[in-house]
Symmetry: C2
Subunit: 353 residues, 2 copies
Amino acid sequence: MPSPQPAESREVERFTIEHVATAAGVSVATVSRALRGLPNVAVSTRARVEEVARSLNYRPDPAASRLAAGRSRTIAVVVPLINSWYFSNVVAGAEAVCAECGYDLLVLTAPNDDMRHKVVTTAAALDRRVDGLIFVEVALPDDELLDLGRRRLGVVTVGQETLMFPSLRIDNEAVGRIAVDHLVGLGHRRIGIVGAQAEDPLYFDVPGERIRGAEDALEAVGCRLDHDLIVSGEFTIAGGREAGAQLLASHDRPTAVFALSDEMAFGTLIAARELDLAVPQDVSVIGVDDHDVAPVLGLTTVRQNVADHGAMAARALLEQFAGRAVTVDHLESTTELVVRSTTSPRLDRAELV
Amino acid sequence: MPSPQPAESREVERFTIEHVATAAGVSVATVSRALRGLPNVAVSTRARVEEVARSLNYRPDPAASRLAAGRSRTIAVVVPLINSWYFSNVVAGAEAVCAECGYDLLVLTAPNDDMRHKVVTTAAALDRRVDGLIFVEVALPDDELLDLGRRRLGVVTVGQETLMFPSLRIDNEAVGRIAVDHLVGLGHRRIGIVGAQAEDPLYFDVPGERIRGAEDALEAVGCRLDHDLIVSGEFTIAGGREAGAQLLASHDRPTAVFALSDEMAFGTLIAARELDLAVPQDVSVIGVDDHDVAPVLGLTTVRQNVADHGAMAARALLEQFAGRAVTVDHLESTTELVVRSTTSPRLDRAELV
DNA sequence: CTGAAAGCGCTAACAG
DNA sequence: CTGTTAGCGCTTTCAG
């Protein structure tokens, strides 16, 4: 039985499983079992081992245990960027669940330019570095997903629905419908949309679906969505401002604007102010998210439960680890209209049918 | 020479250093050296090994390398919460640097309630899980810092200045001075402050320092800061709103409010609106940060380079790993006044001395 | 410049 | 219920 060497000079002592075993008078195997709560350990033995481990303040080395067991108790969340309201809240939700379950959370950003490539390579590098991945609004081609599956990695996607892994999303068509229903109910018919290019890889399908919902709502009252009134705002405040300016500068401007995110709505509000248009008197504005500062601006919006997105995804992933079978659930998070003061009835109702 | 077993049925092949060694006709030791760019490897050998590794798409197992080498190429950033503008931007800055240097970034939140305890235990658990830590606005007692040092962990703090580790901070007194100088220059003398309890563990010293700067600026023109006009806003929008309401409701309300963060300034703006006070006509408001939505609201503020905070901290930490010596640098990030439209000259100058 | 061999600290059969 | 014994895949002396 090799006797572990003493701790170095001023360094803190680092106990190994062997120290614990010696001190408790059992074998390392028993310590391992006892500490991990496995069966086949006498109650008294387990108690003694736990006691010794505690008194030594022993912590298993995660790298060693990872190497031996093949699990890392770490998951990664892949986001396009972390410093945006939406993504940081998703990460926060995931982090809370991970912390609770003793998992570590790695944050990876896959920025839009070389994003696809980056995701592929990181995914490869992630193999055996993490047990699973949460992809948030990161579009993955089927073959890459397949590849991840083969690497024994758990996967959950937020935003994208896949064939082989659980996913979490919101009903984006409903979001569009709810928003435009509200505007239509206020008498608006000529509605501008601040969205994103359909081809934008960042938010692949979201804009298209929300716009489809908007179309539905308009068609329900016998109107059509004017596609000339759809402008890209890149899901940023700055982009929303440009898009808003473009939309509101023309003389036959829309009487209401549906921004596909609150941040773009903020930009639209700036644009309106710069054009000396009063909101909501001259133009109504509605967003999506219920961003923290939406109440500050009185922004009417369609709220989504963002922190839940991350939490639910993390939970789904951890369940995947527990029950070995992967159930391809497609969860849906709820949304809800929040009316504030940037929307109001259309003043001039002359044009109404 | 043990021949590695073939990949399992549908699983993707997982190559080890041994595969590479065999394929390149060298020993595993040589592969290890070659791939890590160590000296003492013939140019031709290195080239061959690299070629083989690439063609096999080989990646060293991080757990194994961690176990053998004692380094994890992972650092952790500890924040009170991740879903706030400030912290998510700091994390973003750190993540960018880590990604660039091939380090993984673990995110740990130490929420305020049991925060201190949590930090201690996580720090212990972090030992040999990460190579270093970045503490962001997380106050650590000296003995705990000492303990971390003994565990061979690199440490950099953002916000708190320590005796043994590099730190990064802004000159918070200057921030207060800049803000109040601006207000004083506009003729304001009766200035309210939306801040935080000095005892608030979350932002330990920041409020006190900013307030001290504010006092300086006021004293420079022969005035004193009225401490009855200091109200806690907990660094949140909601808190700022309550504090603002309290400050602005009274009849002899201040003519200007200095909110110690933009988010509290947002709250103050809500409060003003709810009290039917026009900004800046009835009351001027200035914040700190230059939050993304500050331009939307036209908020005058003292900008700080938040993403730099995380990036500089991460860089300082990685440098600590490189040069073995720990240089206890105390870096300082810059700040800058950004004048927008929530501040204006005090209208009634009758009281002016 | 290269190879052999001894671990890093833990887990997981396999015996008892 | 417990101990023994192999490794997990890589790094790192130490020889050559």
